[in-house]
Amino acid sequence: MREVSRDRIKAFLTLLPSIVLIGIFVYGFIGNTIWISLTDWGGVAALAEHPVKHFIGIQNYVDLFTGFLEGRFRQDMVNAVFYSVSLLAGAVGLGMFIAILLDRKPKGEDFLRTVFLYPMSLSFIVSGTIWRWMLAPQGGVNILPTYAGFKPLTFKWLSAKTTVLAFNWQNLLQIGLYLVAVITIIIGFIVYRNSRSKSVKWLAIGALSGLTAWIGGDMLPKALILEEIHGFNLATLGIIMATIWQYSGYTMALYLAGFNGISQDLHDAAMLDGASTSAYYTHIAIPMLKPITISAVIILSHISLKMFDLIFSMTGPDNAETGHPALNMYLTTFRANEFARGASIAIVLFLLAATFIIPYLITQYKQRRTR
């Protein structure tokens, strides 16, 4: 008994320095950032020796989402969402696809695996620079068709002004309700097989919010006074491509390791059960790798939310079409010296990332406890 408690003390003492350091430099500074975001630190005297800070509550956040001057931030948020979704779909999809091809054990599998994994080892600054050249208006990708005798492309990968899927930020609440409706109805159909009563609940929530959005229409409160259009900027396509290029090798490696871990017998059993190769992957292999898919989604989504260096090296920080909240935070804080506003952007990003990571950590923790 005494030995045990001694061991514990030793363990605690060993961990203590890192607990203290993490406590100060991670959690302490998160707390400090939250505090700053609730003040009005910024403006002309922001860099004074003892800057004046007043507590102003959540005014910075209100401004970010509904303030007249922060339209740029809102477009950056929209960019980030489209960027994250495209990166997830692209990198997970492409990575999985390559992993399946390599899992068929083609000749030179080892070599190909290295080739696909290689982009991961580049720094974002390097790959950003490469892609900037490749996506230059008169070079790289745009002149590829000329090798086949076609006309060169004229698409401006990083500075196109076209916006698709545009929506009015004023109707944020309505759009949000529609989104909730779509998502809950999809969940409702998914759980239908397992539990009808749960499914009915989900469907009811979906129908309710859908109806509110539809009937409520113009009567719903507006987020802004003026109309403000945001959407998917096609200029972000180049950045999305570059990030997918860099990360699909990583997801491929995750999936390939997972596929290799599935026993031959399981594959054989599926074959005897009459599964075709594609049925084997859709019904057996990919569902079995759900934990890998979840990890990939978590990792990629927080990477994409924090993305800074790749965009910086591809377009610089000031390219409005390809803006990103992390760049905006940098500009707001260190160019405009609006420290409080910058802190509030940081906290918004932090909370967004947390919405992905915390449920993941909770399920992991639960799984470990039930094991």
Partner: protein, 364 residues
């Protein structure tokens, strides 16, 4: 229901030949057991029948179709694997339904068949559990359920019970037997376990190094092994094999091994060449110690010295020295004997098997 035929089936891995021209005809609804030492090619043969390995030579016929180029799913065979190979992310119900789902059977039929199979295998209470939440025996039953719902022409089992403890194995063995009596599906069963082989098989196939050594009913391979390998592989403890000679003594054909001489029965081995060297095979249970006077002819009774005696509960194992030959005897009852004790033993010489010392094949 189908016949399975192996015609001169060969399997090579590169330059390594692991199955050398296997010929075998398995009747409809027959239960065939493949046995042999590790690495002799049992799984390989099974997997070739399933279509999971290519066939390097010869042909395999299921029903009346040559299946060499038929993919596994079109052979209508089901296989139960040693480690069960259940789909871990599916419930028991989904595991059993998967094959039917792939065959695009309508939902209500799938439901009915799965419930039927679950009832047969007493899996009802576990249908909505995942395999991880089942015991080894239950998983084994799910694996069998998955095989029977599809009503295949042929069942293939690759050491299905070897991961279970002894008691459960006995129980599952009986259930397997019952299932076979119920469904009468042609079954090919690979095992290491002698008792499984003897109790389940209609016929046993003994393999060694990719060659079929003998095919026969359990009693046949036990009593009339085709060669020394089979004699020693089947039966535990293995058959006693001692070197000897055939000679005529007073006109009767007699086996002589050292100081031991045993007169052959009048209806056996009478036309053997005189003076021929032979290997004499006698089963341990062919040496009697109790009631020898009543059961064994006088010429076959001999004096023996006990070297070691082991009591195994119902029977005892004795290591005996009989006229300077060492024999193992397996005798009924608990014999409290001590090293050095003298006993009278009787040989059931009507069960003796003689082998050629050069070829190690049995002499007709």
């Amino acid at each position: 229901m189908a016949q399975v035929k192996l015609n001169n089936v060969v399997k090579n891995y590169g330059n390594v030949k692991v199955v050398h021209g296997a010929d075998l005809l398995i009747d409809d609804s027959e239960f065939i057991v493949l046995v042999g030492p590790s690495g002799c090619g049992k799984s390989t043969i099974l997997r070739m029948i399933a279509g999971l390995e290519t066939i390097s030579g010869g042909e395999i016929v299921i029903g009346d179709q040559v299946v060499n180029r038929v993919s596994p799913k079109d052979r209508n065979v089901a296989m139960v694997f040693q480690n069960y190979a259940l789909y871990p992310h599916m419930t028991v119900r989904e595991n059993m339904a998967f094959g039917l789902k792939m065959a695009k059977e309508p939902r209500d039929i799938i439901e009915k068949k799965v419930n039927q199979a679950a009832a047969t295998l007493e899996l009802g209470p576990y249908l909505d559990r995942k395999p991880a939440a089942l015991s080894g025996g239950q998983r084994q039953r799910v694996a069998m359920g998955r095989a029977i719902v599809r009503q295949p022409d042929v069942f293939l089992f690759d050491e299905p019970l070897s991961n279970l403890d002894a008691q459960l194995r006995t129980q599952m063995r009986m259930e397997l037997k019952k299932l076979h009596l119920q469904f009468k599906t042609t079954t090919i069963y690979v095992t290491h376990d002698q008792i499984e082989a003897m109790t389940l098989a209609d016929r046993i196939v003994i393999l060694k190094d990719g060659y079929i050594q003998q095919v026969g009913s359990p009693i046949e391979v036990f009593e009339r092994p085709a060669n020394v390998f089979v004699a020693q592989f089947i039966g535990n403890p293995p058959m006693n094999i001692i070197k000897g000679k055939c000679t005529r003594v007073n006109g009767a054909m007699t086996l002589v091994a050292g100081d031991l001489s045993l007169q052959l029965p009048e209806d056996k081995y009478q036309d053997i060449a005189e003076g021929k060297s032979v290997l004499i095979g006698i089963r341990p249970d062919g040496i009697k110690v109790r009631d020898v006077e009543h059961r064994i002819r006088e010429e076959w009774r001999k004096e023996a010295t006990v070297n070691v005696a082991e009591i195994l509960g119902g029977q005892s194992l004795l290591e005996l020295n009989i006229s300077n030959n060492r024999f193992i005897a397996e005798v009924e009852g608990r014999m409290k004997l001590h090293p050095g004790d003298k006993v009278t033993v009787g040989f059931e010489l009507d069960r003796v098997v003689l082998f050629d010392p050069e070829t190690t094949e049995a002499i007709a």
